[in-house]
């Protein structure tokens, strides 16, 4: 029986079973192919969408505000990324973030804020979606906050601006507000140039968060640009130190110093007192933030006398070796009196400048048409913007009218009846120093020498420069502005400040000049506003500061001191002038 059964089990093909099996396998396979084809060819969008949802991300990169540096690459303003701590009160409520108050205590401690105020800020507005808790938090603190893991507390990147120069260049550079927008000075003028916009990019990220594919740029960003100023931080620092010392010594209300490179018209230093610390903004006072070197105008007093002489020489009204009688030390013009401190008798043009004689210069001024003086003043840049292009610049006032009384013509010649900024005064002397070529003033470092404009002939400019040498030598009004090794062509100025209805008891002490005379390199103007006490003469107040800044700056720029032979040469010229 068993044997029989075994024999019966010899395989016999049952065809229908095979066909069914093969048929099923084929059907299964075909359906797989069909499904694959369907997904791939007919309706691929849904899965693509699902995939994209898991891998596509939009990233944005933060752009820091551009750097501001001086001409030697020393930084004057640097942005550093920091973070803002903000809260989403709604999420904090929904996730019951207030249950663990220890975390809030820790948050308040690290932010140095009272914990009650902090919690109330978030708790009292459960519907709000955004509130700043603290801005400009340094990254170390931000990491700590991240570790606290409080629901509804987030960090947002922003940047903070540091000014390594501090108060030295505070008014010139200006400051930015908390949102990184320039609101003062260069930060304001060149805001668009310095600001970049972040770019947004669509990227594909892999499972472990690595970017594997860049797909498209959603928003094209713009890189911020750096700014290189013409300022030389060494000279800037020196000028500020001397100006601050002078301002304190004479208890002056304010003061400004401008240093201009004679050869290119670049501003090498521009400082003002009183100043402020741009890195700590709790106690900002608007009057400290003004860049007085360009915003404040003063009557320039005797500092403009050399340009009257220049105008007179140019027009031929006087000759370089003319003598002018100033006896008896005063003169009457149209019922008003112009006087000198004492009777100087017959004076050469050089002596008029050396002794700063009002009578002498008035006579020179009255010997030529008024348009000649006004024209020279204007060609020298008075009453016009200097081209420095900074926010708040003042052009000064210089009247242009038909009718002038003789007395007005005289006062115009010794610096009253019109106003100028310290920058304009320095620019005038720079023009004189460059042989009468006026270069536009620039606060940015120039790649090549700009094109200048000849405004007075170089012969006249040199004549006037030589006359001015005597001012800082024995017998001049500003011996304290004398520098050994570098002969100076400068001029003092002391002007009374105008008040309503006339002139008051306050003075402005000025000194402006160029050095070294034989090969002018720097032009400096020092303006000390309202010195208190008995000393208020430009030569005594502003002169010493001028000398210190000039000699220090020339040394820094490696300008060669004068040799003995050249010194004798020059001495003989100024001796002749006397």
């Amino acid at each position: 029986m068993a044997r029989q059964a075994k024999r019966k089990q010899i395989p016999t093909l049952i065809p229908w079973r095979l066909y069914v099996l093969v048929g099923v396998v084929i059907v299964l396979f075909l359906s797989l192919v069909a499904r694959a084809a369907y997904i791939q060819l007919i309706e691929p969008d849904k899965l693509r969408h699902e995939s994209d949802m898991r891998t596509l991300r939009t990233t944005s990169n933060q752009v820091q505000r551009g750097l501001i540096s001086d001409r030697n690459g020393e930084m004057m303003a640097v942005s550093v990324p920091v973070l803002a701590v903000w809260a989403d009160p709604k999420i904090a409520h929904d996730k019951h973030a207030f249950e663990d108050m220890r975390r809030w205590q820790a948050l308040a401690d690290v932010l140095q804020l009272p914990v009650d105020g902090l919690v109330d800020k978030v708790r009292n507005h459960p519907k709000h979606r955004f509130v700043y808790l603290k801005r400009q938090v340094i990254p170390a603190v931000a990491d700590y906050i991240k570790e606290l893991k409080i629901d509804g507390i987030y960090l947002k990147p922003e940047s903070r601006r540091y000014y390594p120069g501090g108060e030295i260049s505070a008014q010139l550079i200006g400051i930015t507000n908390i949102d990184d927008v320039g609101i003062e000075g260069i930060e304001n003028t060149y805001n668009t140039w310095l600001t970049g916009t972040p770019s947004k990019q669509k990227v594909r990220k892999s499972r472990d968060g690595k970017v594997v594919e860049h797909l498209s740029v959603v928003e094209k960003g713009e890189n911020s640009n750096d700014l290189v100023l013409s300022i030389d931080q060494r000279i800037q620092q020196l000028a500020y130190r001397e100006l601050k010392r002078t301002t304190e010594l004479y208890q002056a209300t304010s003061g400004s110093v401008v240093v201009i490179d004679v050869e290119t018209g670049e501003v090498l230093a521009m400082v003002n007192t009183p100043s402020y610390n741009p890195n700590s903004r709790q106690k900002l006072q608007p009057h400290r933030m003004r860049n007085r070197a360009i915003t404040d105008t003063y009557e320039p007093g005797s500092t403009v006398k050399p340009f009257v002489i220049a105008a007179a020489l140019e027009s031929g009204a006087v000759k370089a070796d003319d003598l002018i009688s100033t006896s008896p030390g005063w003169m009457r013009i149209g019922g008003r009196q112009v006087r000198d401190s004492h009777n100087n008798g017959d004076m050469s043009l050089a002596k008029i400048l050396i002794k700063s004689s009002n009578v002498g210069i008035s006579k020179v001024a009255l010997s030529m048409p008024i348009q000649q003086i006004l024209g020279t003043y204007q060609a020298m840049g008075l009453g016009n913007y200097s081209g420095i292009n900074l926010t708040g610049e003042s052009a000064g006032i210089i009247h242009d009218r038909r009718r002038w009384s003789d007395f007005e013509r005289a006062t115009l010649s010794f610096g009253y009846g019109f106003t100028a900024t310290p920058l304009q005064i320095a620019h005038m002397y720079a023009t004189l120093g460059s042989g009468g070529i006026s270069y536009p003033v620039s606060i940015l470092k120039l790649k090549k020498k700009p094109e200048g404009k000849q405004v007075i002939s170089s012969k006249v400019a040199h004549q006037v420069m030589k006359m001015l040498v005597g001012v800082t030598e024995p017998g001049g009004t500003a011996r304290k502005a004398h520098i050994s090794g570098y002969p100076v062509a400068g001029k003092t100025g002391t002007s009374r400040k105008a008040i309503a209805g006339g002139y008051g008891d306050d003075y402005v002490a000025l000194f402006a000049g160029v050095a070294p005379v034989h090969k002018p390199r720097l032009a400096i103007s020092v303006v000390i506003n309202e010195p208190k006490g008995d000393t208020y003469y430009g030569g005594l107040v502003a002169g010493p500061a001028f000398a210190k800044i000039m000699s220090g700056a020339l040394q820094m720029l490696n300008v060669e001191p004068i040799t003995k032979r050249e010194a004798i040469n020059l001495a003989s010229i100024s001796g002749n002038a006397k």
């Binding site: 942005s79 390594p164 690595k210 050994s484 090794g485």
Partner: protein
């Protein structure tokens, strides 16, 4: 048949290239991130350098600690190299 084989090879090449691209992209991204990090570090170092090399500080150290003086113009000796 030949075409089918070519298609296959082509498909494999596409896959390999895509993979390579992704690896390079991710490397580039890592490099860019470290660039950002170095940039931040550089900015902080800049600030540190500025505060250390501040002129008044250098002057103070030079005059007080090292007993240096600035020469007067007439004490200067000029050496010409030509």
């Amino acid at each position: 048949m030949l075409l089918a084989i070519l298609v296959l090879f082509n498909a494999i090449a596409v896959v390999l290239t895509a993979d390579k691209t992704r690896k390079l992209t991710s490397k580039w991204d890592v490099l860019q991130q470290s660039q950002d990090r170095y940039d931040i570090e550089w900015r902080n170092l800049l600030l540190e350098e500025q505060s250390l090399s501040e002129h008044s500080r250098v002057t103070r150290i030079a005059t007080k600690q090292l007993d240096m003086v600035r020469p007067m113009p007439k004490e200067e000796i000029i050496i010409r190299t030509k």
